[in-house]
């Protein structure tokens, strides 16, 4: 997962992006969540050799990035960082599936390369959609949306608390790591026993913190039930967003829009 600072920084970046104020950010989070889930299912449901059918779907993440004021090169960098696993597994395809499937000119391209490309496309699409969702909605709001959509309350509260305190705990961890690094030389002092007691200390402090938070909650009348104040009211725009995009995904799934466009273009020309 990279260094602690790096991870904290990444979360911080997404958090800040989510705090912007665009029309997209103001949409009901449930609409965005449902649209994104529909998008992922649509992408993933294509056959393994599909490339051109997937291309029209790139419209969704691109639209989100544009309307949500998300930096494009940040997104591309995140895609690059997250890609190794998909690439590693996907590379087996061209190695194993060598029968040519497409002929361009005189060159035969094996099915393996086509499915590999398809894998990369799926990866790019699904990951950008997920990132765009958080970047335009914010983690806390997404959790609220999950709760409204029926996710169990205990789990939603769990997500919220995790997010709230992971910054605090990651910083504590960071301080410990720095302290360790300052006192360990030529690789000594970084073994598993030290690690065990570092984690053990962190764990005990964490348990103490949990007790204190619990006290604070009790002092403000907590009885076990987390109550939420603002109700989210969906509007016409939200419904239009969700239904519009879901409709588009269904269309793109049933008709290969890229080919259609291609045929129209070549038909118009020829």
């Amino acid at each position: 997962m990279g260094s602690i600072e790096n991870s904290l920084h990444q979360i911080g970046v997404l958090d800040r992006l989510a705090a912007q104020d665009t029309a997209l950010h103001r949409l009901d989070p449930r609409a965005k969540l449902l649209a994104t889930l529909g998008f992922i299912v649509a992408v993933v449901s294509f056959g393994r050799y599909e490339i051109s059918g997937l291309l029209p779907l790139t419209l969704y993440p691109m639209a989100l990035v544009a309307a949500g004021n998300l930096p494009a090169n940040w997104l591309l960098r995140k895609l690059a960082i997250a890609s190794p696993f998909a690439i590693m597994v996907g590379l087996f395809n061209p190695l194993l599936d060598t029968a040519p499937l497409v002929h361009i000119g005189g060159l035969g391209i094996s099915g393996g390369w086509i499915s590999f490309t398809s894998i990369l496309l799926r990866f790019a699409l699904t990951v950008s959609a997920a990132l765009a969702l958080i970047g335009t909605t914010g983690f806390n709001t997404v959790c609220m949306a999950l709760g409204r959509l029926g996710a169990p309350r205990v789990f939603v509260v769990q997500l919220l608390f995790l997010y709230r305190y992971l910054f605090v705990l990651a910083e504590e961890g960071l301080r410990m790591v720095r302290a360790r690094n300052l006192r360990s030389f030529s690789g000594r002092g970084r073994g598993i026993t030290v690690y065990g007691s570092m984690l053990g200390q962190l764990l005990l402090r964490t348990m103490d913190r949990a007790q204190r938070i619990h006290q604070a909650m009790l002092c403000r009348g907590f009885d076990g039930q987390i109550r939420v104040a603002q109700p989210l009211k969906p509007g016409l725009a939200d419904a239009a967003f969700a239904l519009g995009w879901l409709g588009f995904f269904a269309l793109a799934r049933s008709i290969n829009l890229a080919q259609l466009l291609g045929r129209i273009a070549t038909g118009a020309l020829g």
Partner: protein, 347 residues
């Protein structure tokens, strides 16, 4: 390793999400009923602890590489299975959303692989059985290592099955298994050692913390039969539905069939399981109604460009073989359960 959206099919994703969601609802209900208000902040903060702990590395001697904590087992030790499952689920959700570790559809698979196996199998049936009521140093180490290894092996196997069943990747079952299981054996040992180190530290520094977690967290209502029943249902659903939706092109399972029946020396860590699986593959390969191979080869030979696969392929034959496969998996799960029970009894 996590499943990725890029390698998953909607059927596999959907089924695993259904299973995971069901378990999450069950855990939420269980926690709500036996409610201790301390759990609300404790679960969240411990999940944050695991998140932070995963970012701290240590060097593994003699290899020079670094390892870190996975967290499922230690959460189960500290919180009990139900709370730990939700905690791990929350960590994986944050990882999926912020670091693209696995995708949103694959999240169901990942929560299942990394949550169910450590929390509902490894912890109650291995760790608790070994450590019992006397958390001595030796027992903690032994329990942690065996539980962690078992949990991770099952989890890794889950990834393999899900990837292969999705049919997007061409990676054959045998190769994938050979890659995943040994790697995760090593990871499991490391995880076990780390868990033991942390639990041991806490046990000596502040034993009441462990007592707090374990008091009343005995896996009641978590009988082996219930767990197996749940897994069996998931297996049958998966087997039946997957073959219904399977792509018209040979999926990885078929690729490995040819390979497996030819190979002789597949050294898998869990010998018994591997043998059953090999037989599973052979049987489904020879079922006459498993009607994928013939049309597929014709299409390829004709060299058609971008033949769009007939999706979903609804054929009575394929679902029959799917159900047979599901039944065999049930048998498999039963064997696994018996294996574990036997091991637990002798512990």
């Amino acid at each position: 390793m996590h499943m990725a959206d890029a390698l998953i099919s909607p059927a596999v994703g959907g089924v695993m999400w259904a299973a995971t969601a069901g378990i999450m609802v069950h855990c939420s209900r269980t926690l709500r009923d036996g409610f201790d208000s301390l759990q609300v902040p404790l679960m969240g903060v411990l999940a944050a602890f695991v998140f932070a702990a995963q970012m701290i590395n240590f060097t593994i001697p003699a290899t020079g590489s670094s390892g870190h904590l996975g967290g499922g087992l230690i959460l189960a030790v500290l919180l009990g299975p139900h709370a730990a499952f939700l905690a791990i689920a929350s960590v994986l959700t944050v990882q999926a959303l912020f670091f693209a570790d696995g995708g949103l559809l694959a999240l169901g698979c990942n929560i299942f692989n990394l949550g169910v196996f450590p929390c509902f199998i490894a912890y109650p049936f291995i760790y608790r059985k070994i450590v019992g009521d006397s958390p001595t140093r030796g027992r903690i180490v032994a329990g942690s290592i065996v539980a962690a290894v078992a949990g991770l092996q099952l989890g890794a196997f889950g990834v393999v099955m899900e990837t292969v069943a999705s049919g997007i990747s061409e990676l054959p079952f045998s190769t994938f298994v050979l890659l995943m299981q040994p790697i995760h054996l090593a990871i499991g040992i490391v995880e076990g050692l780390v868990t033991a180190a942390v639990v041991g530290f806490v046990a000596s520094a502040r034993p009441e913390v462990l007592a707090l977690a374990e008091g009343g967290k005995a896996p009641s209502g978590l009988s082996l039969t219930k767990v197996l029943a749940g897994l069996a249902v998931a297996a049958v659903l998966t087997g039946g539905m997957l073959s219904w939706f399977a792509s018209a092109y040979p999926d990885g399972l078929e690729w490995s069939m040819a390979g497996v029946s030819g190979k002789e020396e597949l050294e898998a860590p869990e010998h018994g399981i591997h043998e059953s699986l090999a037989s599973l593959q052979e049987r489904t390969a020879f079922l006459p109604d498993y009607g994928f191979k013939a049309p597929e080869h014709e299409a390829e030979a004709a060299g058609q460009a971008e033949a769009e696969p007939a999706w979903p392929a609804v054929e009575a034959g394929t679902s029959v073989s799917g159900l047979v496969g599901g039944g065999l998996t049930l048998l498999l799960a039963g064997m696994l359960g018996m294996l574990l029970k036997r091991r637990a009894k002798s512990a």
